[in-house]
Point group: C2
Chain length 159, copies 2
Amino acid sequence: MEPTVGTTILTTPTDREIRIERVFDAPRDLVWRAFTEPGLVAQWWGRGHQLDIERDEVEGGGHWRYVEHHPGGIDGFEGRYREVTPPARIARTFEWDGMPGYVSVETADFEDLGGGRTRLVAVVQFPTPEERDGMMGSGMEGGMNESYAALDRLLASMR
Amino acid sequence: MEPTVGTTILTTPTDREIRIERVFDAPRDLVWRAFTEPGLVAQWWGRGHQLDIERDEVEGGGHWRYVEHHPGGIDGFEGRYREVTPPARIARTFEWDGMPGYVSVETADFEDLGGGRTRLVAVVQFPTPEERDGMMGSGMEGGMNESYAALDRLLASMR
């Protein structure tokens, strides 16, 4: 089933994983830039809130750290790049300051669908089912959709 | 079965874990110090090689980074503390620069056996069985025993 632009399909392939699929109405090179250029990441990843990109070394072994300033406070997120293969794949670890030492791995694949559209398939692997379920119960899906909506707007402005 | 001082018992409780048990001929407070004071960690963790403790914030959320200088080159290791409960438990993540983004979680429990002896039980959890098996096939057990032998010597010198 082909997802509609603007709709996220979230599934759970195993008890430790979340799979996210979304189609963007933008060519793959543009989507890649939005995920890898700090000045662009800052415009969507934080759901419209101020986002400080403290570190973003987009290459295998590089570290990243983003700090989001939202009405409820400040939240830091960080990790390390496992694989960066432009413009097709990014794999990196993810850790929230609120639960330090609890690390998930995000693998994002970008597929050129032709016609100026791009499919993102992201699989997030957690160490345990409990951590996966904790993340799903945390309001993560709502926050993610706010981020993707901001990304849709950014991509539209870049075309 | 009670392990002998100087012998490591390594088992595999699940297909993603390694369990390590070793008894030290030293009181728990001394063993705790050897694991948490950078000047002492530097004397055993690197198996007798030069070890630079670039960062070691021993508290929940703190980061650590050690760099070992050995005859074959230089290897960096790093991670973040999940839990530090003196003098009983340390849980932290572990990542080798050679495989960035592949993160295991080490949970070390220290038990006071009385009579000036301490039991360490460390469980290392890997994201996948393949990563666990890769680590076990890497010569990790030999390196670990060299480190523990250096720790035995350090503890003897501290008594």
